[in-house]
Each structure stands twice: as C-alpha cells, then as structure tokens.
C-alpha cells in the first residue's frame, strides 16, 4: 500500500474525474437520512453522513434482480447475462467495506454467483473515515478498520485526507484526476491521532467474550422467548443489514405465458415461511426461534465456516427496528441473561 495527501478542497476534482469514466455512487441526503445514490454534482455528496438507510450491498446484490429469462415451451434459458456497468462506490465507511468482504465469502467460494461477481469486479471502492454514532459498535468486531477491500481510502485529518491506495486502478485514478503530495512523518502522526480520537469516541462497548460458545450453551435461554415476544417479524433488520444475503427465487410469466423470467429478491429468516418445506412442516414456526436463528447464524453459523462474525456493527438494524430490538442489547442479554 502507498499513501498520498489530498487537500480537502481538491476532492471534487477526483469525484469529477471519476465521473468521466464511471457511474459514481455516493452518500446523499434523503429527508433527514442518507442513501447511496448516483452522483451528478460532487457538491451533492454528503461526506459528513453518519450511515445510510440501505447498505451498499444493493449495488452488488439488488433487492430484486432477473437471474435469467426463459421460454416455457422447451424449458430453455434465453439469456442469463448480468448488467454490471463500471461503477465507483464513493465514501464507504470501514464497516461497509468489511461487510462486502463477508458477502464475498458467501457469493464466491465453491460455487461462484455470477451476478454478484460481475458487479463486484466492475466496481471500485473509495473508503472514507467516519465518526462513531450512538448506534455504532463496529469496535466490537474490529470492523472499525478496513485494511483491504478498497481501492482508495480517505482518512480525514483536518484540512487534508490521508489517502491509502490499495490497487493499481486506485493509483492510476488518483494520479490522473487529483493533485496530491507525498506523506511526511507528521502526516502519519496526524493519521494516528485521528484514529485514537475515533476509537475514543465510541459510546458502545460490547462484551463479546466467548460469544460463539455462549450462544450455543444458552440456546434454550428464555431471553429468546422474550425477544420473540417483542419482534414483529417484519424483516426490516435483514433488509438494512449489510451482511444479510438470504434470498428468495420465483418465476414470473409474461402476459402471454410463453416467456418469463426467474427473479431473486431479498428475503429474511424472520419471515414465517422461511424454513417451511413442502409437506407443511415449518422448522422455525415461532418468532422466538427465528430471531434466535438470526443471531445464531451471525454469531456462530457463519463464524464456523469463515472465522468471522457476520456483523459489522453498523447499527442499521437497531435504527430500523420498530420493536426497539438492538443488537448491542441482545448481546448484553446473552451475557447477563436479562433482556433490557
């Protein structure tokens, strides 16, 4: 990795430069919240955003996408091509950069998901340092730092960005579009000071001690029944989660019934029929069993395969939950046995 200093007032040069080669997607205001959306004018970019309503996963794994088009008569696939325009996701916080790596483990691997892959390979990532909000707990998992998974990462050190450059593309784009200077020892010190201030700003300090083991040992704990009583099974937590990847697949026929498309949509393990099978058996009929499964999979199921927790502490689920279920409190309840 190598490093450059970029003056803040020159950043629009980089964004405008990227726009000549890519679709640039970044954080913009929507009401009193923020969303990732295509940017026309660098001035629209809200680099002071706390978090976005939806995570960046939708740019790789859309809420709804056509997997293939088919002809009914001979049960043939007509096409299964993926639309993946060259794109830059600008301003991703470390939690979201980490979330994409967790998604990669699922969508790559023994069976490669060609739709996710095409978009992932055609998308550059520009990361951005952040300030912890009251719902953030990325410090619990070490996802408050991103060490790879970006092309450029911009750390705010006052009037300049301390830019970490990871990829050939990132280096070329910086060289081509924005004036930079070499870093000095003093810049590295400013970067360290910024990091220390960031770490000190967290309000949440989650006790993750022995969590994968505890969630197994306390599988029959009454806390899950209490959380099941609160949970509305709306699935909002899954939709806003940057690491929830479950999906449903269904076929849609065109009006004349001769052609159609196979579509996948975001799904949630909180929905009642998620684990139902054909003969009427439902393996997770109760809300308590479903909310427990969500945590069980994130804290142990995924970890057992990939050695990382399937959570980046972004806090979106606690913001989205209408029942006030907050992962920081759920983990606390697991540790103490008391739901607060």
């Amino acid at each position: 990795m190598f490093f450059r200093m970029i003056e803040k007032e020159r950043l629009p040069d980089l964004i405008r430069g990227l726009s000549t080669e890519f679709e640039v997607v970044g954080p913009v205001a929507k009401g009193d919240k923020f969303v990732f959306a295509p940017i026309d004018d660098p001035a629209d970019m809200r680099l002071d955003y706390d978090t976005t309503i939806l995570p960046p996963k939708k740019w790789f794994f859309p809420p709804e996408e056509t997997m293939m088009r088919f002809r009914v008569a001979d049960n043939e696939v007509v096409d299964d091509e993926v639309y993946a325009p060259p794109r830059v996701l600008f301003g991703l916080h470390p939690c979201d950069i980490n979330s994409l790596q967790l998604m990669d483990n699922v969508f790559f691997g023994a069976y490669i998901d060609p739709y996710y892959r095409a978009r992932r390979e055609n998308t550059l990532i520009v990361g951005l340092s952040c300030v912890p909000s009251e719902t953030c707990f990325c410090n619990a998992w070490g996802t408050d730092e991103a060490h790879w998974g970006f092309d450029i990462f911009l750390s705010d050190v006052g009037d300049e960005y301390f830019a970490s450059i990871r990829s050939v593309s990132g280096a070329e784009l910086v060289d081509r579009h924005v004036k930079t200077r070499e870093i000095t020892d003093n810049d590295t010190r400013r970067f360290q000071e910024r990091t220390a201030a960031f770490k000190a700003a967290f309000e949440n300090h989650v006790d993750t001690s022995q969590l994968p083991l505890l969630i197994d040992a306390k599988f029959e704990s009454p806390i899950w029944d209490q959380l099941g009583e609160k949970c509305l099974a709306c699935g909002a937590c899954s939709m806003v989660c940057p690491t929830c990847y479950c999906y449903d697949v269904h076929d849609e026929l065109e009006p004349d019934q001769t052609m159609g498309r196979r579509v996948r949509t975001w799904d949630s393990c909180q929905f009642k029929d998620f684990a139902a099978v054909a003969h009427g058996q439902n393996f997770r009929d109760s809300r308590a069993s479903r909310i427990k499964y969500r945590y069980y999979h994130k804290q142990w199921g995924y970890l057992s395969k990939f050695e990382r927790v399937l959570c980046v502490g972004c806090g979106r689920c606690s913001r989205a939950c209408k029942a006030g279920i907050n992962p920081v409190k759920v983990i606390e309840a697991l540790q103490t046995g008391v739901v607060s």
Binding site: N75, G109, Y111, E121, G149, V168, D248, R262, V277, W300
Partner: protein, 292 residues
C-alpha cells in the same frame, strides 16, 4: 487502463465461474412409473451429451428440479451412481413444482441443476454391515444407496433394510422389494401402520423391527431417512444396539432453494443442509441445534 477496472478486493482466490450454477440443464423425461397415487418415479436424461457424461453423483445427493414458470424444488436422487446416463427421481405430488412435474408426460423437457450436497460415505461403508432404516418417502434417497450396495454386494457384510409405510398401498418400490423377499443377501423387513386384508408383513412403527434384528456394533453403519419425527426414535434404537454415533448417518430434508449455500433457506443449526449435508453423521447432527 482499460474499460474494466482492476480492483483489489481481498486476498484469496477469485477464479472464473465458467458456468452459471443457477442455470438448469435441459433434461428429458424418458420414463414415468406410477408408484402410488401420490408418488411417481421419473427417469431423466440430460440432453447435452457432455453434461450427461460429466454428471457424477453419490447416493444421498440431490438435484434442483426446474420447471420454468413454476419454480425449482430439491429432489434426492433415487437411482444408484453405478447406473450412468440417467437419474431417477421419486417425487411426491406435494407442492407447485412437484405438482407440475406430475402433470408432465414422457418426452417432456424439464431442467436439472446439480448434483448438490454431501451424500452417504459409500467407500467408508465398504467392508462393513449396513443397517438402512426408511420411513415413508425417506426411502427415496436410501433407494440409491441400497441399489448401489446391490451393485457392489460382495464389498459389504450383512445388509439389513427396515422400511415403514403408512399402508401397503403406500409402500414405494414395492415391485422391487417384493422380488427381494426371498433373497438371502438382503434382510428386508417391511412394516405398515395400517394393514389391509392382503397384508402378511409386520404392523407398527419401524422402531419395533429392531427386536427382530441382530447388529454387530463393532462393524455396522446405519443410514436413516424419514419424516422429521422419526429420527430420534430410530437413533435411540441404534444406540441401544451400541452402534457408534459417527457411524449412524441421517439424511435431512430442508428447504434447499439454491443448492449452493447462498440463499439461506436450508440452514440447520450452524450449517446449511445443501452444501454441508443433506447427509450428516449423528455426531454432527447432535451438534446441529434443532436438527433432530
């Protein structure tokens, strides 16, 4: 720099997909046998010769059966891997996709993806006794193992098959099992919950048949498939016979929607049925929350 950005994503392999694992291969239905009023046995042949030659599976694995316009369903393979060029699927008319399949005719084309998952450890079982216990439609995946053992019979010790069905009319593959009644190389015991006037076999749950069999616990493998409620009772009988926990194999049915470990629907405990199973040994299954 070219049109395609080069991005550093993560250390690790990013190999070419080559094929789309979600795209079904067209397969022709070459035979349909009515087994019961609810179940039919379909013989399917992949139309693409290369795909047909490359289709290699283990007993206990499943395929995703695809009927465009209706959807996909996971179905375990009933034929033996020793028979190449076609597969057999024993399918109950229980949902949209299986219902649509039941309306298909011989010669019609459907889609297949797979084979998926982990099957029974056939090679490990060689040289040992095997006790196979099936309930209802659970005979479908075990039929593949039974026939595979049959085709390599000299490699195995005693082979015992216990199969329970609700009524004589609901016994699947009865034409084969009736023919096996007098064989001395397979101990086959059928039982039904509700006998009719013609039934001369056993009556009652499959677990009652354990009084009638001898098991050498030092040498025996178990294989179980049936309705979810059946497992713990059959496993208890096998444990009473001192069979090892890691030599008892169970096959689970869950909602394997994608088959490739991504859609999440078939989660069982900390695993996915589609890629980690559907066959687990009992030690593994004991460690899967809510599995049994």
């Amino acid at each position: 720099m070219g049109g395609v950005p080069r991005s550093t994503i993560a250390p690790g392999d990013r190999t070419s997909a080559g094929v789309n694992p979600y795209r079904p291969w067209p397969a022709r239905i070459t035979s349909i046998i009515d087994l019961t009023p609810q179940e039919k046995l379909f013989e399917l042949r992949l139309i693409d010769e290369g795909a047909r030659a490359a289709f290699d599976f283990d007993s206990g694995q499943f395929v995703e059966l695809s009927i465009f316009g209706v959807g996909e369903a996971p179905i375990s393979i009933s034929s033996a891997p020793s028979k190449q060029g076609f597969i057999e699927l024993c399918v109950r008319n229980a949902g949209d996709v299986t219902g649509a399949l039941h309306r298909k005719q011989c010669g019609d084309v459907v889609g297949l993806r797979g084979p998926f998952g982990r099957g029974f450890p056939f090679e490990e079982m060689k040289g040992h006794d095997v006790l196979l216990v099936a309930g209802g439609l659970g005979i479908a995946p075990l039929k593949s193992l039974i026939n595979h053992i049959h085709d390599d019979r000299h490699d195995f010790g005693n082979v015992t098959i216990l199969y329970g069905a609700r009524s004589p009319a609901e016994i699947l593959f009865r034409y084969q099992f009736d023919g096996w009644k007098h064989r001395d190389d397979f101990d086959l015991i059928l039982t039904v919950d509700h006998p009719d006037d013609t039934w001369e076999g056993d009556v009652g749950l499959v677990t009652r048949l354990f009084d009638k069999i001898e098991v050498d616990p030092a040498n025996a493998f178990g294989a179980i498939c049936g309705p979810p409620v059946m497992y713990k009772y059959v496993i208890a009988e096998m444990r009473k016979k001192d069979m090892d926990v890691d030599r008892i194999y169970v096959s689970f049915e869950r909602r394997m929607k994608c088959g490739v470990g991504k859609c999440g629907h078939c989660g069982v405990g900390h695993q996915y049925t589609c890629i980690d199973g559907p066959v687990f040994n009992y030690w593994e299954a004991m460690n899967l929350q809510e599995a049994i």
